[in-house]
C-alpha cells in the first residue's frame, strides 16, 4: 500500500499493465515524450520505448481510427485524447466504428480499446476544456463509459477497462487529479465496470454522483449528518452500463433520490437515473426524484466558473428541500 493521488494511481495502473501485457500500446498528443499534459503517462516512454508509448499527430480521428484497427488486429491500445473538448473530430471513428464493430461483424471482431481523456470544469481553463459530455457518450450502444472519483477506483477501473474486450471511454475528472491521496494496493486488482459503490450508508435520502462531484457531496453530507439527516452516498463509477440494482435497492430503503452532476441539466445522465427510479422504486418515493446539475449553458470561463459549479452549499439546500418535501 502506498498513498497515491488520482494521476499517480492511473500512471501506476498503465505502467503495471504495460509490464504485464506487451500488446498494450499508449499514444496520443504529447503522451509520449512529455508524458501527457497532466503527466498521466509520465515515464512510460522511457521505460517501454517509443514503439509502445509515443506522440501522435494532432488528429483525434487518426488516433481513434488507428486504435480501432490495432484493437481488431489483436493489440490493446490505450489512447489519450488531450482534453475531452478535442474528442469531437474523433467521434465518427469512436461512435460509428469503434462502438459498432462487434455488432457489425456479428461478433467476429471486438475492439478491446481504451480511450482516456481529462474532462470537467473547475480548473479555470479555456473555453471547450471544461465540458462534461458523459451523457452524449453513454447514449451510444456498444460503448462503456467509466468515471472514477478516487485513486483506488482509478487504478482498479483502468485495469478492468484495459482487460475489457470492448471499447471503454475512460473519463478523468481533471479537477481532482491531484486534490487528495489515498492508500492504493501495489498489486494489480480490478474494480468491476458497471457496479456502483455505496460510499456511505444512510436511511433518509440517496444521493448519487460521480467523478469530481463525490468530494463535494461528501463535504455536504458531513454537515447534513450533523443536522441529523442520514444520507446514503452512491458513487456511480460507471455511466454506461448503469448499476440499476444499486440505485433501486437504495431508493427502496430511503424513499428519496437526488442525483448530482456537473454536466448541463437537459438530457443529462440525471434524467436517465430519475427514469430508472420511477420505473423501479415508484411506490417507495416520498418526494420527486430530483437532479441538481449544471445550467443549460456553455460552461463559463474562469471568471464566471464559480457560479456554474456545484458546491456543498447547493447540495445541502437541495437535500433539505427534499427531506422536508
Amino acid at each position: 500500500m502506498e498513498a497515491l493521488n488520482n494521476i499517480e494511481a492511473l500512471n501506476q495502473a498503465l505502467d503495471q499493465m504495460m509490464e504485464k501485457d506487451e500488446k498494450i500500446v499508449i499514444y496520443g498528443e504529447d503522451a509520449g515524450f512529455e508524458g501527457g499534459v497532466f503527466r498521466a503517462t509520465k515515464g512510460l516512454q522511457a521505460k517501454y520505448g517509443k514503439d509502445r508509448c509515443f506522440d501522435s499527430p494532432l488528429t483525434e480521428a487518426g488516433i481513434i481510427g488507428s486504435g480501432i484497427g490495432m484493437a481488431i488486429n489483436g493489440m490493446k491500445p490505450v489512447l489519450e485524447i488531450q482534453f475531452q473538448g478535442f474528442l469531437f473530430p474523433g467521434l465518427n471513428q469512436l461512435l460509428v466504428h469503434g462502438a459498432r464493430y462487434r455488432n457489425r461483424s456479428r461478433g467476429r471482431f471486438t475492439v478491446p480499446m481504451v480511450v482516456r481523456m481529462p474532462y470537467g470544469g473547475g480548473i479555470r481553463a479555456l473555453e471547450h476544456h471544461s465540458e462534461s459530455i458523459e451523457a452524449m457518450l453513454a447514449h451510444t450502444p456498444g460503448l462503456k463509459v467509466v468515471i472514477p472519483s478516487n485513486p483506488y477506483d482509478t487504478k482498479g477501473l483502468m485495469i478492468s477497462a484495459i482487460k475489457d474486450p470492448d471499447p471503454v471511454v475512460f473519463l478523468e475528472p481533471k479537477r481532482i487529479y491531484r486534490a487528495f491521496k489515498q492508500e492504493v494496493p501495489m498489486e494489480i486488482y480490478e474494480v468491476p465496470i458497471g457496479k456502483a459503490r455505496i460510499l456511505k450508508e444512510g436511511n433518509d435520502i440517496t444521493v448519487v454522483g460521480w467523478g469530481a462531484m463525490i468530494p463535494e457531496i461528501q463535504l455536504a453530507v458531513k454537515d447534513l449528518e450533523e443536522e441529523g439527516i442520514s444520507v446514503e452516498i452512491i458513487d456511480l463509477r460507471t455511466i454506461s452500463p448503469i448499476d440499476k440494482e444499486a440505485i433501486e435497492n437504495s431508493v427502496k430503503k430511503t424513499g428519496r433520490f437526488l442525483v448530482v452532476h456537473e454536466a448541463v441539466k437537459s438530457f443529462g445522465v440525471g434524467a436517465e437515473l430519475i427514469s430508472i427510479v420511477n420505473e423501479k422504486a415508484f411506490l417507495h418515493l416520498e418526494c420527486p426524484p430530483t437532479r441538481l446539475t449544471g445550467y443549460d449553458v456553455t460552461i463559463p470561463l474562469a471568471k464566471g466558473e464559480g457560479h456554474f459549479m456545484i458546491n456543498p452549499e447547493k447540495i445541502k439546500s437541495k437535500v433539505k428541500e427534499l427531506i422536508n418535501y
Binding site: M1, A3, N5, V37, F38, I123, R124, A125, L126, H129, N150, Y152, K174, R175, I176, Y177, R178, A179, F180, K181, Q182, E183, V184, R197, E201, N203, K252, K253, G255, F282, L283, H284, L285, E286, P288, A302, K303
Partner: protein, 414 residues
C-alpha cells in the same frame, strides 16, 4: 449613451403603467426634467430624467406596462468619455484577474493537495435492520400527509401490501373516532371533548377562509332613525302587521348598492365582477349556530314583500328547513347583532366583498342645531374587502344608506 432603467420608486413596486410621455425621440432633455408619467399600484409619479442629452430611444407606448429594471429610455448624453473610463477600468480588473488566474492556460489550475482520504477495505458487513417503509403511490402519500397519518403505520390492502387511499382514510377515521371519545384527564377533573356539529364545521371553514383571504377594514357610524321609528309605527298600524327595521334597512342597502355597484361585486383573479342581481344575505342566529339565508333579487320587492320573505326565511332557518336555494347566491350580507351587542366588526362572507353590521337602536342625547335632543340612534359597522374598496368608498356607501334611513319616505318612493 445612457440606458435609463425604470427603477423602483419606493414602496417595493414591480411594474407600472405609462400614462403619458413628455418627449419624443430626438428631443433634448435636461437632467431632472420629467420624462414620463407612470401609474403604479400606490401612486402616479412623474419620472425625472437621470441625465442631460438627446433621447435616442423610447421603449414603450402610452398605456404599456413597464417592469422595474426595463430599459425604458435611452439618452445620448455624450458619455463616450465615460464609456472609455469604464472600459479601461474593466480592462485593469481583467488584467488583475488574469494575474490571479496565472496558469489558467491549456492545462488550467489543478488543485494540488496531499490530504489523505479514507481507503477502501472489504470487510463483511453486518446485517442491518432496515426500517419498514410502506409501498404507496405519491398521491396516497400526499393524502396521508394531509390527514397527518404516518403511512408506515397503515396496514395496506393493495397488491403486495400496497397502502391504498381507502386504507389511509379508514385508519384516519378510526384514530379520530378514538380521539373524540377520549377525554383528557387533568388534575382538576375531566375536560369535555365534543366533536363540532356539521353546521359548526361549516361555519368554522367559511369564517376561516374569509379572514384568511380577505383584508378587512371596518367603518363605524351612527344613523338617526327618529323618522323611521315614526314611519314604521304608522305603517305597522295601517297594514296590521308589525314591521321590523330590517326591511327598511335592506331596501336602503339595495339602493346604496344601486349607486355603488362595487359593493355587490366579487373578485375573480385580477377582475372585478359586478353582479347584476342584488341578493341580500341575512345572518340569523339559531340554536344550532349562525346561518345566512339569502333574499333573492331585491329589485322588484316592496318593503312589505321584503318583510314577508324575511319572516319566511327566519322561520325556516330556525326550523332547520332551509333549502340549498335559500342559502346560496348571496351578493351582500346584512348582519343584525342588535339583540346581543351595541356594535361589532362583522366578517365578510367570502366571496362577497362587504357586509353591513346592524347594532342596537337606542335612545341617545344628540346635538342638533346646538340643542340637545333625544333621538333613536342606530350604530352601523360596514366591513369591506380593502383590496378593492377603499375607506372613502365605504363612507360614501354608508352616507347613501343613511340618506334613505334618515328620510325613510324616499324608501317608499323607490
Amino acid at each position: 449613451m445612457f440606458e435609463f432603467k425604470f427603477a423602483d420608486i419606493g414602496e417595493g413596486i414591480h411594474q407600472g403603467k405609462v400614462l403619458d410621455c413628455f418627449f419624443k425621440i430626438g428631443d433634448m432633455v435636461e437632467e431632472g426634467e420629467s420624462l414620463f408619467l407612470v401609474e403604479t399600484d400606490k401612486v402616479n409619479a412623474e419620472i425625472p430624467s437621470p441625465a442631460k442629452g438627446i433621447i435616442t430611444a423610447i421603449n414603450f407606448e402610452i398605456n404599456d406596462i413597464i417592469n422595474v429594471g426595463d430599459v425604458v429610455v435611452v439618452i445620448d448624453d455624450g458619455s463616450s468619455a465615460e464609456v472609455i473610463e469604464t472600459i479601461t477600468e474593466e480592462k485593469e480588473k481583467a488584467e488583475a484577474e488574469t494575474e490571479e488566474g496565472k496558469g489558467a492556460s491549456v492545462v488550467g489550475e489543478v488543485t494540488v493537495s496531499n490530504e489523505l482520504i479514507p481507503g477502501f477495505h472489504t470487510e463483511e458487513k453486518e446485517e442491518k435492520v432496515i426500517r419498514r417503509k410502506s409501498l404507496a403511490t405519491p398521491i396516497a402519500r400526499r393524502m396521508a400527509k394531509d390527514l397527518e397519518v404516518d403511512i408506515n403505520e397503515v396496514e395496506g390492502s393493495g397488491l403486495n401490501g400496497r397502502v391504498m387511499k381507502e386504507d389511509i382514510q379508514k385508519f384516519h377515521n378510526l384514530n379520530n373516532k378514538a380521539e373524540t371519545t377520549k377525554s383528557v384527564v387533568l388534575e382538576n377533573g375531566d375536560d369535555i371533548r365534543e366533536e363540532m356539529s356539521l353546521v359548526r364545521k361549516a361555519i368554522f371553514k367559511t369564517v376561516s377562509i374569509s379572514k384568511k383571504e380577505i383584508p378587512h377594514t371596518t367603518l363605524f357610524d351612527d344613523i338617526d332613525l327618529e323618522q323611521l321609528v315614526k314611519l314604521r309605527g304608522e305603517l305597522s298600524e295601517e297594514i296590521g302587521v308589525k314591521l321590523t327595521y330590517m326591511p327598511f334597512i335592506m331596501k336602503a342597502v339595495y339602493l346604496g348598492i344601486k349607486k355603488y355597484p362595487v359593493f355587490n361585486s366579487t373578485i375573480d383573479g385580477e377582475e372585478i365582477v359586478y353582479k347584476k342581481q342584488v341578493n341580500l344575505g341575512v345572518a340569523v342566529d339559531t340554536d344550532y349556530g349562525l346561518v345566512v339565508p339569502v333574499l333573492k333579487d331585491l329589485s322588484s320587492l316592496s318593503i312589505i314583500e321584503i318583510s314577508e320573505k324575511l319572516k319566511g326565511l327566519s322561520s325556516r332557518a330556525r326550523d332547520k328547513k332551509l333549502s340549498m336555494e335559500d342559502i346560496t347566491g348571496g351578493t351582500f350580507t346584512v348582519s343584525n347583532f342588535g339583540k346581543f351587542a351595541k356594535a361589532g366588526t362583522p366578517i365578510i362572507k367570502h366571496p362577497e366583498v362587504a357586509v353591513l353590521g346592524i347594532g342596537r337602536v337606542k335612545k341617545q342625547a344628540v346635538i342638533i342645531d346646538s340643542e340637545i335632543q333625544i333621538r333613536s340612534i342606530l350604530p352601523v359597522s360596514l366591513s369591506v374587502d380593502h383590496r378593492i374598496i377603499d375607506g372613502a368608498d365605504g363612507g360614501r356607501f354608508i352616507e347613501e344608506v343613511r340618506s334613505y334611513l334618515e328620510n325613510p319616505k324616499l324608501l317608499l318612493l323607490s
